[in-house]
């Protein structure tokens, strides 16, 4: 689904990513660990095509298409969706309207989607205006549900979210990915019959792993992905030994 080869990225005149190689096959959820400032967000922004992230080497392929220099909105239309950690406020644009925009030509029942996320009370509010950490994440998930991307990039979905809403959030991630066990049994058949979607989930704390199922984990350290193995295992290593030691075992 997503293939990144020898990616080198500069922000300003600083090299953030040196040589990133990553493959997320269709239907798999990969977890991206890494200390603060290691470049996780930068990698995600580069995959999506945001300005300010200059690719100096390497290639990004999505669904077999070279998207390395493709405009941002075309990548979105091709099926990449992002959950932002700190999205901007857009004054005068209601979240309801935003969700409709995310759906493009498709029809969405915004009220129904938002009731699943307990977001009803915020629909008429300007996008991201005065929202708490958890509300921002739910707003982002709501937009992704309407957008229906084939691959989602989630940037620290658990950050700033209290324990109660993290389960809700995890459930909505599973819905978007067609994974997990749903509380509503009528949808069960749909989930089994539909192929799961791909995901790259950035996490610093690893808390989100209690709610979603991960196929693999990677650690971004000093501009490179240092290891690739079971995500929970990596998390244990990091807890036990810290990042430095953990990446020391790199093969």
């Amino acid at each position: 689904m997503l293939l990144i080869e020898e990616l080198k990225v500069e922000v300003g005149d600083k090299e953030i990513l040196q040589n990133v190689n990553l493959h997320v096959p269709p239907g798999e959820t990969h977890i991206l660990f890494g200390p603060n400032g290691s470049g996780k967000t930068s990698l995600m922004m580069t995959i999506m095509g945001f300005s300010g992230y200059r690719i100096t080497r390497g290639k990004i392929t999505f669904k077999g298409e070279d998207v390395t220099h493709m405009p941002l909105h075309e990548r979105a239309r091709l099926g990449i969706g992002v959950l932002f950690q700190r999205p901007p406020t857009i004054n005068g644009l209601t979240t309801r309207r935003m969700v409709e925009l995310c759906a493009g030509d498709r029809c969405v029942d915004v009220d129904q989607l938002s009731s699943h996320l307990q977001f009803d009370n915020f629909l008429e509010r300007d996008v991201n205006h005065n929202l708490s950490g958890g509300e921002i994440k739910r707003s982002e998930m709501l937009q992704l549900m309407a957008q229906e991307p084939d691959m989602v990039l989630l940037d620290e979905p658990e950050s700033g979210v209290d324990l109660e809403s993290i389960a809700l959030l995890g459930e909505s991630i599973n819905t978007v990915l067609n994974r997990g066990i749903k509380r509503n049994p009528s949808c069960q058949k749909g989930i089994i019959s539909e192929k799961p979607k791909s995901a790259l989930v950035i996490t610093h704390t690893g808390h989100i792993l209690d709610y979603i199922t991960a196929d693999r984990g990677q650690v971004l350290y000093k501009g490179q992905l240092r290891c690739s193995r079971n995500a929970r295992e990596i998390l244990k290593w990091i807890h036990e030994y810290g990042y430095e030691e953990c990446v020391g075992c790199t093969v």
Binding site: M48, F50, S51, P71, L72, H73, A76, R77, G81, V82, F84, P87, P88, I90, N91, G92, L93, M98, L101, C102, G104, D126, Q143, Q147
Partner: protein, 392 residues
Amino acid sequence: MHSVNDKTIVNLSDFNSRAEKNEYAYIDSLEAMEKTDADEFVKVGIETDASLRAGTFIQKDNAVVHCSNSSDGTDVMGIAGALEAFPWLESHVWKLLSPEKDDMTREAAQSPLQGFFIRSHKDVKIEKPLQTCLHIAQDKFSQKVHNIVIAEENSEVHIIAGCSTSPHLTTGLHIGVSEFYVKKGATLKYTMIHDWGENVFVRPRTAVHVEEGGVFISNYISLKPVGSLESNPVTYLEKNATATMNSILVAGEGAHMDVGSVVELNGEGARAEIISRAIVAGGTIISRGHLKGNVHGVKGHLECKGLILKDGLLHAIPELSGAVPGVEMSHEAAVGKIDRREIEYLMARGLTEDDAVSTIVRGFLNVDIEGLPEELAQKMDQAVKDTEQDMM
């Protein structure tokens, strides 16, 4: 590149006060109006379905072509007729404004009285809005009106005031003197929608007096080209009176707008809010606002936000003056461009760059104008969409 030269000066001899075609046929019913007229009026908020309005006043050049009133408890008349009918009204003319204020007021004071008189009677709450339209149809015409609005004690009224010109005009002048009286506990909402034309000079001179506990809400919307507009209404607030002044301005190439509000807070508990959104797309906007706290226990906020989409000039002049301790006033002014992060956020949801920019511009102009009738709100929304298409 941009000079503030001729645009600010009105040369009265360039305009003609006499209507050449004196007679415009009186319009008996709004539904039966000629399409050419209706199109001109509708774009500035005039509703041709009379059942949606409590009353209507339409003046074309210097002729009153329609005046009707379907609600009890209101007066809707030409000002000349009103002065004949109500001798007491004389004392309300040139009371809040001095004819000696400037050349424009002097010119208006010397001209025959035209314009409208609207009054909501004591304790009457008028549910549907009233509407007025002042239209210039004759080339180089100088339209001079003197409007008086009185909201009597504890009454409530919303007036939608449209102004427009015919498309063929090379130039024109509108001098509009307005004196509004909001009596004790009354609410006057005044929504102006203007579509003047490229070389038209517009000089409103407005003063508003709001008595104890009264509420004055002014919405000023000018999205279409205007040659030169200079408007700086003054509102005087007594004890516990409030004023909200919203303006939404767009200046395309060639437009010169000098628009602001002055609010004098003269009684304890008075509150005022001045909010403006200005978009410069090649033209000039001078966006003013002045809150004067003259007694203690008053509060005011001024918010002036501007976006520059195409080279021009956006000059925000927010002013606060306090004369005594115990006044609480603040202002917030921002002039800038659209944040790249916002554009890309929308693009990440699949919008093209152009669509992202227009969505943001529309949001910027989307000041919640409370109490705008649904059909008009939709019309404004469409106008904003059109505007933003014209600008890109």
